[in-house]
Symmetry: C2
Subunit: 231 residues, 2 copies
Amino acid sequence: MESPKRAATRAASVERIKATARAQLACGGAAALSLREVAREMDQTSSALYRYFANRDELLTALIVDAYNDLGVCTETAERKIDRGDLRSRWRAACRAIRQWAHAHPHEYALIFGTPIPGYEAPAFTVAAATRATGVIARILNDDCAQTTRKTNERDDDEAARALEMSGVQVLMPDVPASVALRGLFAWTQIFGFLSFELFGHLEGSIRRGDDAFEKLIEQTSHQVGLGVEQ
Amino acid sequence: MESPKRAATRAASVERIKATARAQLACGGAAALSLREVAREMDQTSSALYRYFANRDELLTALIVDAYNDLGVCTETAERKIDRGDLRSRWRAACRAIRQWAHAHPHEYALIFGTPIPGYEAPAFTVAAATRATGVIARILNDDCAQTTRKTNERDDDEAARALEMSGVQVLMPDVPASVALRGLFAWTQIFGFLSFELFGHLEGSIRRGDDAFEKLIEQTSHQVGLGVEQ
DNA sequence: CAATATTGAGAGCAGTGCTCTCGTTTAGTA
DNA sequence: TACTAAACGAGAGCACTGCTCTCAATATTG
């Protein structure tokens, strides 16, 4: 059934294919990714690639999972370096890591956060990779709420709880009241909304120094979710 | 040179092509838009379409401009119905209109705010249409600042002014101090960030009732930019 | 009515994803 | 070490795409 040598060379082939596909992605985006071109680049026939990926979508899925994981580890390692108690700094580190990764891999960012592939449903096994970066900033918020209990408006909490899918949110942030979790989710959409606009060119003519603006955004969001402020 | 009759029938043809293309866009997204299929749907040959659009990108551009304009008029008409003095309500109306349009035309939303077409540079004439919806919320903020002068932190203003491309922002919001304009821009990215996440499926498992969450978001953003609060 | 644009059809080219078949190579085994 | 079965890659081929070209039919203008 499983031959270790076979498996190793096969994995190496898969990796080589993904690498050249990624390179091709970098110049032209997902739409321009051509299996034939990848094969040509590798001095092979296109049909050979079908030994490793059933079709184009499957290759794309593999690249998406890799991108999610790469973004995840970048965020995790950057955030881990910060003193656990300094929640604002952890927030900053995580946000900066996300933006840095996005700027370093714009096409892979687009693959993840851009228009979803038409008629393509992300396989269930991708969600683990997908929630990795999100998990970092969720954990920061959770740590904050765990150590400083917050006064929250009861009505706000009820309304927020109704809007949220509590099963999904609570598993990431068990100690965070619903109203705060919702604000956290808004901060999350704001970070990625800014990055999408920046990378997709919607900020052209509006923002000159993206770095400065993003720093301001980090401060605003961390304040918004009430990080590190005694209440 | 210009024959009015010719021009009319030609415009009608262009409109018919765009309509069937839009219909096709609705089931499959931009990547699945095929000129041949459009022609087939119209009982014509694909080559005939090239009398009206030089290539696929040009058709796509036309659809993009239309989408921008459609989103623009929807936002404008919704916001215009509100009493000029009630700035919070105007903000709410504009945001709701944007979300409503996005949900009614998800594929056209994706066309505009999703992954940009690879290697495709938006022609200059598209920006007028593109800034239409943006202009509405910018005007609200501007009206607010025009009637109630704000106390702003001088250092904040300087830093914000450095980050912003003032030429682009000031033409839309001449009466808004830089620090407030930056917060407005952040609110803008948040609205569209939320919508992108919502439509592209990144909120799956996190949010149950998008409507409620969005209402909360509207309140938060309008508060964030300091709408209608005497300062 | 005649000259002239404007239009659509049809064939054809180069490219794509994907399938199938057919030799070759390779890894584990008797 | 020789053998078998699995894995592999090449090549041809199908249906599809965007796009170009030529040629005939149509509509508009002098």
